[in-house]
Amino acid sequence: MSARVLVGVKRVIDYAVKIRVKPDRTGVVTDGVKHSMNPFCEIAVEEAVKLKEKKLVKEVVAVSCGPQQVQETIRTALAMGADRGIHVEVSGKDYETLGPLQVSKILAALAKKEQADLIILGKQAIDDDCNQTGQMTAALLDWPQGTFASEVNIEADKLKVVREIDGGLETIKINLPAVVTADLRLNTPRYATLPNIMKAKKKKIANVKPADLGVDVSSRLEVLKVDEPPQRQAGVKVETVHDLVGKLKEAGRI
């Protein structure tokens, strides 16, 4: 098969780090904080590389949007088995306001430019929990989507996707080209071992600007403030149901 897969990877604050709100309440402290690839994006890369190893696709291209540092994230994807990378340069204020809508426009433009047949993304990012990029990209391209995938198979030129939904598992068959978003149980990502990191240094990462793709990255959203979650108030224990009703009435709840 001569298919080309586009995999989107996002550089996020590592999940184990204790984050802190900036003193000016405009966001979270990111300077010097440990960052790593979004866990769902790792699963997406692993799936793409597995498809390549099964010879169902020919080339895996890793894409990331952001400042210079996202090149490390792309290198990790290359070390896991991607063939080449594309770094879409977005920095400064634009990067702070970069959201799913702009990223999906960028991915749609890249999919057309690179003539991709399949886009695999993580289902959501752990910093904003939006869960929107995959769906928006599919809509912009007018491609079918298989989201929350826990199993992906290519049969003839259709894609069989098993999705994790509230009621259980749903199996759908969609036409290619398509967008798939990876859920937790899709696979276990491999380690980016040191020899692979060294080899990855020789793989190419192309630099592209959003303007070259005809995408306007200005945001329609404005963050007003960012706060820590409120401290949990201590609960009150009551002895009888009467007391409970009394307390609820006092609080004006009933």
Binding site: Y15, A16, V17, V33, K34, T188, P189, Y191, L194, M198
Partner: protein, 599 residues
């Protein structure tokens, strides 16, 4: 002895029993790590204890390792390792030679495992990178005020710092060492050094003739029970003409090398201290950037070596770095350095600074105190030891960064000429470079460590702390360490603990959640994390992040040792202080461990 407060009288009895028993054997009421009873899970499954070639689960697993060659491999991306790398590349470009220098570092990013006060003496930095200011080195806080005091429970007795005393900090900078190390890493990369953070060196490789060939990074993808997972991948071998070991205090590979090459035959055993540190954002009104405060005395008694530091940093927001150091030769098993630290913060002079503030980071790391008497042989065929790993800390100054950096630079300079010499006939496959040790003995590190060599051992007298201060005043301040004798240390730290029955338990106050905190919430702040499904070190003692704990057996009677290796902040204290010395700290999968940011 254990920091967390959940230990019952039963657990204390277990500890007491343990102390009474010698060496290998464990008292039967503690669930033994050595008896392989089928009802008890093994404490460790590490391959150094259970070899793989006898293990049926490892049959048929591909064990071949990918190998690569470099000119110099440096283990550890800290001040010493990075200074050595930078110096090598500087010399290479000066002499127009090509040199491949690789640095492997277990932290996920350079600086993430770095922890220090820190008050930096810029001497070595100015030698290495004279234009450090223009290059944006993060030395933003020159010392403006220097205070030293003796604390009692309620009061503070100021001690004048006369010029010439080691604690005088004029000309030094208060830094966030993690950020400084990160900046050094950037300088190194600019010069072409290959930095590999997230990859831990776990094994030393040897040539047939016994010289060091290089290192191998650890295997990944091994389950907790010691079996290979689907994602198992063998580590990689990095071969070099010479390997520099800069693992920091009590490095695990260095521990192996000491035995292999008998490097400690002619020196005293290394003695250590544990350093605990927190970063606080305080009330702006109380913030005085550049103020440096040190104290001794309360809450430690006069026979326990230790003290505190409190530095006001000038980094944008009102930040203070504060911490507590306790010598690991303390004798009372009930002493908990962590809880002494938390208790110290409640002293009126400290509390007044912290009130209204917020703690944003916590971490811990062992530091070496042996100084001059404990310097081992530094060079062996195929390798050299640099930095805090052999240990060059100036104890009364509590500074080791400048000497670590200088040792890295000296090692680089001695190695460079030998590596690039095309006509060199080396006796061993790995290069032996005794010039490093000669250069070291002629350098200012040697002179500095020699002049303060008797200060730390002078504490081993009846008057403890006060005797030591008197000695320092007379012999260092007046005579500059020129006295003809060299005092000895007291032996291994691990041998110092007295049996619990001979010591009085210490009543520690409960943490109040505003100034003092419990251990678990502190560990959460260090950002520490490891892949949970991997084997870990065998052990039986305390840690600064709630790694080792005794939990009741599921069957009801007795306790068992549970190792929460995920909580490990890599401080190495367990390996140092364990009385039976049966803990062998081994490096976990790379990029795990604490995620310090500018500690």
């Amino acid at each position: 002895m254990f920091p967390a407060c959940r230990y019952s009288l039963q657990a204390r009895r277990c500890v007491g029993a343990l102390k009474a028993v010698q060496a290998e054997h464990v008292a039967p009421q503690v669930c033994s790590t050595r008896s392989s009873s089928s009802t008890l899970s093994r404490i460790t499954t590490h391959y150094s204890v259970y070899p793989r070639d006898k293990d049926p689960r490892w049959e048929g697993v591909e064990m071949e390792r990918f190998a690569d060659e470099a000119d110099v491999v440096i283990v550890g991306g800290g001040p010493a390792g990075l200074s050595a790398a930078i110096r090598l590349k500087q010399l290479a470009s000066q002499h127009e030679k090509e040199l491949r220098v690789c640095v492997v570092e277990k932290a996920s990013q350079i600086g993430a495992h770095t922890l220090s006060g820190a008050c930096l003496e810029p001497t070595a930095l100015s030698e290495l990178i004279p234009d450090w200011k223009e290059r944006g080195a993060p030395l933003n806080t020159p010392v403006t005020e220097d205070k030293f005091s003796i604390l009692t429970e309620k009061y503070r007795i100021p001690v004048p710092i006369l010029p010439g005393l080691p604690m005088n900090n004029h000309g030094n900078y208060l830094v966030r060492l993690g950020h400084f190390v990160r900046w050094l890493g950037e300088q190194a990369e600019e010069l072409g050094v290959e930095l590999y953070p997230g990859y831990a060196a776990s094994e030393v490789l040897f040539h047939e003739d016994g010289s060091v060939k290089g290192i191998a990074t650890n295997d990944v993808g091994i389950a907790k029970d010691g079996s290979p997972k689907d994602v198992f991948e063998r580590g990689m071998e990095l071969h070099a003409k010479v390997t520099l070991f800069g693992e920091g205090c009590h490095g695990h590979l260095a521990k192996q090398l000491y035995k292999q090459f008998n490097l400690r035959g002619n020196c005293e055993p290394q003695t250590y201290a544990i350093g605990l540190k927190e970063l606080w954002v305080i009330d702006e009104k109380k913030w005085c950037p550049g103020r440096t405060e040190h104290s001794v005395g309360w809450p430690l008694n006069r026979n326990t070596y230790g003290g505190s530091f409190l530095y006001h940093l000038n980094e944008g927001e009102p930040l203070v770095a504060l911490g507590f150091v306790v010598g690991l030769d303390y004798t009372n098993p009930y002493l908990s350095p962590f809880r002494e630290f938390q208790r110290w913060k409640h002293h009126p002079s400290i509390m007044s600074t912290l009130e209204g503030g917020n703690r944003i980071a916590y971490g811990a790391r062992a530091l070496n105190e042996g100084g001059f008497q404990s310097i081992p042989k530094l060079t062996f065929p195929g390798g050299m030891l640099i930095g805090c790993s052999p240990g060059f800390m100036n104890v009364p100054k509590i500074k080791g960064t400048h000497t670590a950096m200088k040792s890295g630079m000296l090692a680089a300079e001695s190695a460079f000429s030998k590596i690039t010499d095309e006509n060199l006939q080396s006796e061993t496959a790995g290069l032996y470079i005794p010039e490093y040790e000669e250069a070291f003995k002629k350098s200012w590190i040697w002179k500095e460590l020699y002049s303060v060599r008797n200060i730390r051992p002078s504490f081993h007298n009846y008057f403890g702390l006060y005797g030591g201060m008197v000695y320092t005043g007379i012999f260092y301040w007046i005579l500059r360490g020129k006295e003809p004798w060299t005092l000895k240390h007291n032996g291994l730290d691990a041998d110092q603990l007295k049996p619990a029955k001979d010591c009085t338990p210490i009543e520690y106050p409960k943490p109040d959640g505003k100034i003092s905190f419990d251990l678990l919430s502190s560990v959460a702040l260090s950002g520490t994390n490891h892949e949970h499904d991997q084997p870990f070190c065998p052990a039986e003692t305390q840690s600064f992040s709630c790694v080792y704990e005794y939990v009741p057996l599921e069957t009801g009677d007795g306790m068992r040792l549970q190792i929460n290796a995920q909580n490990c902040v890599h401080c190495k204290t367990c390996d140092i202080k364990d009385p039976s010395q049966n803990i062998n700290w081994v490096v976990p999968e790379g990029s795990g461990g604490p995620a310090y940011n500018g500690m």
